[in-house]
C-alpha cells in the first residue's frame, strides 16, 4: 500500500499523458472513420477517375518525397541528428537544373527545319542529363560543405547543439538563395518532350485521366535511384562501411573505417538524391523559388519518421505513402484542399505520438527516440 502511494504521484502524470494520448487517438480515428464512410459511401462526391488522378499525383509526389526522405534517414542513421537544412539542399539542386535549362534555352541552335530551335530542344536528352548532373553536383557539394562547416565541429556536442546549428544553416541557405536569385517564383522551362500537363490519356468510363510524361519520368527515375541506393548500401564496400558506422562509430573506426570520410560521403549521397529530387520537382511542378525546399523538406522528414527513421526501405515506403495520403487525404476526409499541408503535419504529430518507431522501424530505445 505504502509502496503504491509512493509510486502513484511519481507516475501519475505520465499515466495521465498516456490516457490523454489514448483518448486523442480514439477520437481522431473515430473522426477519420466517420469522414471516410461519409465521403466514400454516402456523399460519393468524387468518381473513380478522380480517385485515380489523386493516386497518380500522390505516387509521383511520393517518389520525390522518398528521395528526400532517404537523405534524412541516412544522416539520422549515422549521426542521430536531423539534417534540418536538407530541404534547402534540394532547393539549390532545383535551381541548378533551372539554370541549365535556362542557359540552354538562351543559346540558339537553328536548323533548316526550325530556325527558332534552341540548344534545349536540339539536344533534349543531353539537356535533361546535364540538368540532373548539375542539380546533383550542386546539392552534393552543399551537403558536403554543410557537414564540414556546420556539423563536423559539433560532432561530440550534445544533441541540441547540432540541431540548432542545422536550423541556422537552413535559414542561411534559404535567405542566401533569396538574395542570390531574387524572391520571385520561376517557371521551369522543360524541353518539349517533357511538356507539362501532356501525357497518355486513360479513359475511365466517360472521363479521361492524363498520365503526364513528366510524372512518369519522375516516378521511374526516382524508383531507379532508390534501387541504385539500395544496391549501394547493401552491395558495395562503402555501403557496408556506412552500415557499420551507423551501428557503432567507435567500433567501426577500430575496424579500419575512416569514419569522417564515410560521414562526408553519406552527406554527398543524400545530396545527390536531394538534388535529383529538386530537378524532378522543377520539371514536374514547374515552379521553384527560394522557399521551395521548406515544405518538401518537412514532409520528407515526416515520411522518414513514418517509415521509421534510420531505416532506408522505411523512408521509401513512407515517402510514397505520404504522397498518396497527402493527395487523397483532403478529398477522403472531405476537407478544404488548402489544408493539405496540415495533413502532413498532423500525420507527423500522430506518428510521433502513437508509434515513434514508424512503420518499419524497430522499437527504439528512449535514447534514440
Amino acid at each position: 500500500m505504502s509502496a503504491n502511494r509512493l509510486s502513484i504521484p511519481f507516475q501519475s502524470s505520465a499515466n495521465l499523458g498516456r490516457a490523454v494520448r489514448l483518448l486523442i487517438g480514439v477520437i481522431i480515428f473515430g473522426l477519420f472513420l466517420w469522414r471516410f464512410i461519409d465521403v466514400l459511401l454516402i456523399q460519393r462526391e468524387y468518381g473513380p477517375d478522380t480517385w485515380l488522378r489523386f493516386a497518380i499525383s500522390g505516387l509521383i509526389l511520393g517518389g520525390m518525397y522518398a528521395l528526400i526522405a532517404i537523405g534524412y534517414t541516412l544522416v539520422y542513421g549515422i549521426l542521430f541528428m536531423i539534417n534540418f537544412a536538407h530541404g534547402e539542399v534540394m532547393m539549390l539542386g532545383a535551381f541548378a537544373g533551372f539554370f541549365v535549362f535556362e542557359i540552354m534555352n538562351k543559346i540558339a541552335a537553328p536548323t533548316a527545319a526550325d530556325p527558332k530551335l534552341t540548344l534545349l530542344n536540339a539536344y533534349p536528352v543531353l539537356a535533361v542529363i546535364l540538368a540532373f548532373l548539375a542539380g546533383m553536383l550542386v546539392s552534393s557539394t552543399t551537403g558536403y560543405l554543410l557537414e564540414r562547416i556546420a556539423y563536423r565541429p559539433l560532432r561530440n556536442a550534445p544533441r541540441l547543439v547540432p540541431l540548432i546549428s542545422a536550423i541556422g544553416a537552413s535559414i542561411f541557405l534559404q535567405n542566401a538563395a533569396q538574395l542570390l536569385f531574387g524572391p520571385q517564383r520561376r517557371n521551369y522551362i522543360n524541353p518539349d518532350f517533357l511538356a507539362r500537363g501532356v501525357g497518355w490519356n486513360l479513359m475511365i468510363g466517360e472521363s479521361k485521366v492524363v498520365i503526364t510524361y513528366t510524372g512518369v519520368f519522375s516516378f521511374v527515375l526516382s524508383i531507379l535511384l532508390m534501387i541504385g541506393l539500395y544496391l549501394l548500401v547493401q552491395r558495395t564496400k562503402l555501403g557496408r562501411a556506412m552500415r557499420a558506422v551507423a551501428q557503432d562509430k567507435k567500433t567501426a573506426a577500430l575496424m579500419g573505417i575512416d569514419v569522417d570520410s564515410v560521414i562526408s560521403r553519406t552527406f554527398i549521397i543524400s545530396g545527390i538524391l536531394a538534388g535529383s529530387a529538386g530537378v524532378m520537382w522543377g520539371i514536374h511542378q514547374g515552379i521553384i523559388f527560394y522557399f521551395t525546399g521548406f515544405l518538401p523538406g518537412i514532409k520528407a522528414f515526416t515520411a522518414a519518421v513514418m517509415g521509421g527513421i534510420g531505416n532506408i526501405p522505411g523512408a521509401m515506403i513512407g515517402g510514397l505513402f505520404l504522397g498518396i495520403l497527402e493527395s487523397m487525404g483532403p478529398a477522403a476526409l472531405g476537407i478544404d484542399f488548402q489544408l493539405k499541408d496540415v495533413i502532413a503535419f498532423s500525420i507527423l504529430v500522430l506518428v510521433l505520438i502513437f508509434r515513434p518507431s514508424g512503420i518499419l522501424g524497430e522499437a527504439l530505445a528512449e535514447e534514440k527516440i
Binding site: 504521484p9 511519481f10 502524470s13 505520465a14 495521465l16 499523458g17 490523454v20 494520448r21 541528428m81 536531423i82 539554370f99 562547416i149 556546420a150 559539433l154 561530440n156 556536442a157 550534445p158 544533441r159 541540441l160 547543439v161 547540432p162 540541431l163 540548432i164 546549428s165 536550423i167 541556422g168 544553416a169 537552413s170 535559414i171 542561411f172 541557405l173 534559404q174 535567405n175 542566401a176 538574395l179 542570390l180 536569385f181 531574387g182 573506426a253 579500419g256 575512416d258 569514419v259 518537412i298 522528414f301 519518421v305 476537407i335 478544404d336 488548402q338 489544408l339 499541408d341 502532413a344 503535419f345 498532423s346 507527423l348 504529430v349 510521433l352 505520438i353 515513434p356 528512449e366 527516440i369
Partner: protein, 523 residues
C-alpha cells in the same frame, strides 16, 4: 613557414569566396553604404555609394583576412615576422586572385551589356560598375588583386605587432581585470545593486518621454521580444526542450486579444485587461494540451513536432475553413488599445510604459524561477533527464510546467503585440518569429537575463536602426546560429551557472584522442 603558407592559402581561399558571395548577394553595395552612413556621409536612397567606401570596405575585409591568416593556431607555437607576412601575402594573393577572376567575368558580362538581374537579383549593372571601381577591365582586376594583397599584408603585420605586445592578454586582459575589480569593490557597498536598479528605473521612466514615437516603437518591439525570449528561455534554456513552434502561443495570445476586442468579425468588445489575462491563460492551456502527448519525445523530434504545430496554426488561421471565426488571410483590424480607469494608454509613450512594466515583471519572475526548486529541477532535467528522474523529480510534470509558463509569456506578448499594432493577421505569426526568438536567446546567452535583453537589442533593435541590413537580417541570423553553436554556445553574455547541456568541452578531449588515433591508423 610551410604551415604558415598553407594557412595563408586556405584563409585566402575562404575570404575570396566570401567576398565573391558578398558581391553576388549585393553586400558589396550595402556594406559600403553602411560604412558611409557610419562615417556620416550617407548617399541618397537608391544611389550607389562612392568608390572610396567600397575600397575601404574591401580593405577592412582584407585586413581581417591577413590577420586571420597570420594568427597561428592554438596548438602551434609563436610565428616569426617573415612567416606572418608570408601567410598574409599568400592569403591576399589567393583571395585577390579569386576576386579578380570574378571581377573579370562580371566585367566581361557587363561590357556585353547583359543584365544579369533576372537570374542574379542583386547584380545590377550599376553594382557591377561599382565593384569594378568604375574602371576598365584589366585595371579593375589588377586593382582588386593589389588592394587585397596590400590590405592583407597590412592585416598580417598588424596582427603580428599586436601579438608581439601581447595585446590580447596584457591590454584587454588588464582592462577586464580592472573592470572586474571596480565591480567587486562596488559590490561590497551593500546598496549598490539598488542604486543600479534606481538608475535603470529612472532611465526607463525618462527615456520614453525624450525619444520620438519611432524610437518608442522600436524599443517596444524589443521589449516584446524580451518577453518572448524570456519565455522561450524557460522552455529551451532552463528545461532543455527545443520548441520551434513557439510562435503558436504568440498567435494564440494575439488572436485572443484581436477576436475578443475588435469590432470585426465578432464585435464582442471585452475588457482589455480581462482579455490580456485570458490570452495568457489560453496560451498556457494550449502549452499543456500540446505538451501532454508530445513531451515524452526528446530533443529533435520535439523540435519538428512543435514546428509542425506552429505551421498548422498559421495555415488554419488563413484557411477558408476558419475565416468566419478568424477573418482569414485579411487579419483582424482595430484591435482594442488599453485604458485604465477611463484613462487611455493608447499613446506610444504610455504603451511603452505598459510593455516595460510587463518586461520588469517577467524579468523578476524569471529571476525568481531560476533559483527556485522548480528552476533547479528544470536544470537537472536539462543536464540529465534520467538522473533527474532518479533523484525524485517528476520530469514529465516539470517539463509540462516549463512549457505552460513559457507559453504564457508568449501569450501575453502576443496579446500586447496585437493591441499595439491594432492589427493581427496570419503572416504576423510565421515561423520566422520562432526563429527570431530562438536566435536572440541563443546569441544573447541562454539562461542569462541580461544576455536575452542584449540579444533582443542586437537582433531586433539593431536591424530596425540599420535599415539597410533588413534584407540580410535572416541570413545573418542563420549564420549567427551556426557560428555561435561552434564558437560560443553559451552566448554573448553567458549565464553564471555553467551549462553542460550546451557545451561540449567535457566530452571533447576523449573524442579528440579517438579521432587522432583513428587518423594515425588511417595514415
Amino acid at each position: 613557414m610551410k604551415t604558415a603558407l598553407q594557412q595563408g592559402l586556405r584563409t585566402g581561399a575562404v575570404f575570396g569566396i566570401v567576398i565573391v558571395f558578398m558581391a553576388l548577394i549585393g553586400f558589396t553595395v550595402t556594406g559600403p553604404i553602411l560604412l558611409a552612413k557610419i562615417l556620416g556621409n550617407a548617399p541618397k536612397p537608391e544611389q550607389m555609394p562612392a568608390v572610396s567606401y567600397l575600397v575601404l570596405f574591401l580593405a577592412l575585409t582584407g585586413v581581417w583576412c591577413g590577420a586571420k591568416a597570420s594568427t597561428p593556431g592554438r596548438y602551434s607555437g609563436a610565428r616569426s615576422l617573415s612567416a606572418s607576412l608570408a601567410a598574409g601575402a599568400a592569403a591576399g594573393a589567393i583571395s585577390g586572385l579569386i576576386v579578380a577572376i570574378y571581377a573579370w567575368i562580371m566585367g566581361g558580362v557587363d561590357a556585353r551589356g547583359t543584365d544579369l538581374r533576372p537570374y542574379l537579383a542583386q547584380v545590377s549593372p550599376a553594382a557591377v560598375k561599382l565593384f569594378l571601381f568604375q574602371l576598365g577591365l584589366p585595371a579593375a582586376a589588377l586593382a582588386h588583386l593589389g588592394l587585397l594583397v596590400a590590405s592583407s599584408l597590412g592585416g598580417a603585420l598588424l596582427a603580428h605587432l599586436l601579438r608581439a605586445v601581447q595585446f590580447g592578454r596584457r591590454v584587454l586582459g588588464g582592462l577586464s581585470v580592472r573592470t572586474a575589480r571596480v565591480v567587486q569593490q562596488a559590490r561590497r557597498f551593500p546598496y549598490a545593486i539598488y542604486v543600479v536598479y534606481a538608475v535603470l528605473a529612472v532611465l526607463l521612466i525618462m527615456l520614453p518621454r525624450a525619444w520620438g514615437s519611432y524610437w518608442n516603437y522600436i524599443i517596444g518591439t524589443v521589449g516584446l521580444y524580451v518577453i518572448l525570449g524570456l519565455g522561450l528561455n524557460i522552455i529551451v534554456g532552463m528545461a532543455g526542450q527545443l520548441v520551434l513552434g513557439y510562435v503558436a502561443f504568440f498567435a494564440i495570445g494575439a488572436y485572443t486579444m484581436a477576436l475578443l476586442t475588435a469590432p470585426q468579425p465578432h464585435a464582442l468588445g471585452w475588457n482589455f485587461w480581462l482579455v490580456l489575462l485570458l490570452g495568457l491563460l489560453l496560451a498556457a492551456l494550449t502549452g499543456i494540451l500540446l505538451g501532454l502527448p508530445i513531451l515524452r519525445l526528446r530533443g529533435d523530434y520535439l523540435a519538428i513536432v512543435t514546428l509542425g504545430f506552429g505551421e498548422i496554426i498559421r495555415i488554419m488561421l488563413r484557411s477558408d475553413l476558419l475565416t468566419p471565426i478568424t477573418a482569414g488571410p485579411k487579419g483582424v483590424r482595430d484591435v482594442m488599445l488599453p485604458s485604465i480607469f477611463g484613462y487611455s494608454l493608447a499613446s506610444d509613450v504610455n504603451f511603452l510604459y505598459l510593455i516595460l512594466i510587463f518586461v520588469v515583471i517577467f524579468v523578476f519572475i524569471t529571476a525568481r524561477l531560476q533559483n527556485s526548486r522548480t528552476g533547479r529541477a528544470w536544470v537537472a532535467i536539462r543536464e540529465d533527464e534520467i538522473a533527474a528522474r532518479a533523484s525524485g523529480i517528476n520530469t514529465f510534470q516539470s517539463k509540462l510546467l516549463a512549457l505552460a509558463i513559457g507559453a504564457a509569456f508568449a501569450g501575453l506578448a502576443g496579446a500586447l503585440f496585437a493591441s499595439r499594432n491594432q492589427f493581427t493577421g496570419p503572416e504576423d505569426h510565421s515561423l520566422m518569429v520562432s526563429i527570431n526568438v530562438l536566435a536572440l536567446a541563443i546569441v544573447g546567452g541562454l539562461n542569462s537575463i541580461p544576455g536575452i535583453i542584449l540579444g533582443s537589442f542586437a537582433l531586433k533593435g539593431l536591424p530596425e536602426i540599420l535599415r539597410e541590413l533588413e534584407d540580410y537580417r535572416l541570413l545573418v541570423f542563420g549564420a549567427l546560429l551556426v557560428v555561435m553553436m561552434i564558437l560560443r554556445p553559451e552566448g554573448l553574455w553567458p549565464a553564471s551557472r555553467p551549462n553542460l547541456e550546451n557545451h561540449s568541452q567535457a566530452a571533447e578531449p576523449a573524442a579528440e584522442k579517438t579521432a587522432a588515433a583513428v587518423k594515425a591508423e588511417g595514415d
